[in-house]
Every structure is written in C-alpha cells, then in structure tokens.
Symmetry: C2
Subunit: 113 residues, 2 copies
Amino acid sequence: MKATRSGKAKMPSDLVLARTASLFSAFANGGRLKAVVALMRHGPMSVTGLIEVCGLEQSALSHQLRVLRDGSLVVAERRGKQVVYALADDHIASILEDGIHHAREQSRKGDAT
Amino acid sequence: MKATRSGKAKMPSDLVLARTASLFSAFANGGRLKAVVALMRHGPMSVTGLIEVCGLEQSALSHQLRVLRDGSLVVAERRGKQVVYALADDHIASILEDGIHHAREQSRKGDAT
DNA sequence: CCGTCATATGACATCGATCTCATATGATAT
DNA sequence: ATATCATATGAGATCGATGTCATATGACGG
C-alpha cells in the first residue's frame, strides 16, 4: 500500500462525497472509536462488555452505538437478553487502523498538540 | 492492502485515539473533503482556485482551510499575493481515497440513505 | 403475571461546528 | 503613502452533536 501519489484521483460525485463525510463523522469521536477498536480486538461483544471497555455510561454508549449502526459501521444481533455488536465489515477496520497508524506517526513526528 | 482480519489489533492509547478522532473529524465535512480531493486531483492550488472548485464562500473556505491546517492535513505556502495549499502528505490522500472507496461500495450495495 | 436484567429511546441542556458579516493583514503596483 | 487584490480573523447567530435523566421495551426466570 503505497500508491498514493497526490497528482491523480477521480473526482467523486457530491453524493459520494457526502457519504464519505458521514462515514468519517462516525469515526470522529473518541468513545465511538474505542468501541470500534474493542470490537476489532475482542470480536463481537455485548453492550455490557463495551460499557466496561469504553468507560461510558449505558445511555451514552447506546446513543453512540446507534450512530455506528446508522453509519453501517457495526451490526447488532440479539442474543437472549443481550445484544451483541460486531464490525459490519473488514473494510471498516482497515480504514480505522489506517487512521490510527497516521495518528501514531504524527505523534512520533512531534506533532504535539 | 487486504490484511484486515477483524480479530487482531493493538489497543491504542487514549491519546492516539483522541488524535485519530480529530483526524477523522477533519475529514467529516463535505466542503473540506471537496477541497482535499481538489488538491489530490490538481495538486497544489491557491485559495481562489479552491473557492471555485468547492463552491464555498471565501470566508467559509478560509475557516475550513484553517481546520485542515490545524489537523495537519494540508500545508500552506505564500506565493506572492496568493497562498497555495497542498496536501501535507500522501498518507492523507490514501486515507481519504479509502474512505471514498468505502462510500462508493456502500452506494453500490444499495445502502440508500 | 411480575420482577428484573439488558438495552433503547426521548426530552432536554450544553457544547462545539459552521456560516455570515465586517474588518484586519499582507503583498504588490502606482 | 494609497489603492487594490488575496487571504485570514473575530464576533455573533444558528444548527448539530453529545451527554444525562427518566422512562420504555424486550427477554427471561420464578
């Protein structure tokens, strides 16, 4: 993965651009990110599990999970009393990892905020 | 680039997670995305050029460019009266293209919103 | 049926993002 | 020095995002 010369890329339609923006919006929050990363690490998890990992309140997390569902980043499945969440697809994980990687590089480059 | 098994990934620190969230935040807007895509297509451009391409008002675009600069997504260089913007690095373009690609796939899968 | 666990939802407050308008700054030419 | 072009900035309005509290729903055990 290196084919990233800046000079060339096809101009996406406004619709695609809007969808892209909302995809990234879904990633634009620490709590949501933490949840998605948790799903990447542990695989499918119940809400209760996510609450512990993310350190968010039940209601807050539930709202965030809704955002993730609406953005099709995750899928939910009932398992008795619980609801188990999982990543919607691997591309999601790929994009997030790429973002995390970039953030790490920035840190190493001394981009101290 | 395919190594996207969901099961394994290292848990990033909260700092990295926060940085990642703010990276994605910078991408979480149609106007900003349009500007970045323009820079990918045409290479470095002046603000005036970006105004035309993005269809934003001067002031609004300037504010957005500030967000992009603050997030280190783009860099600015004075060129006489003008200021020329360019992508900060190729990784930025890579991440964005990946996001656009995902958005396109979603559309094809009939994820009509 | 009732109580309880697990999760979702709605209303509301608050905080942040984005836009607009007016104005400031910086560079160049006259 | 002044005018003008190109861009940035600040203040304020408005809209959306996030969190909290209270309550609803859904599943299961007794």
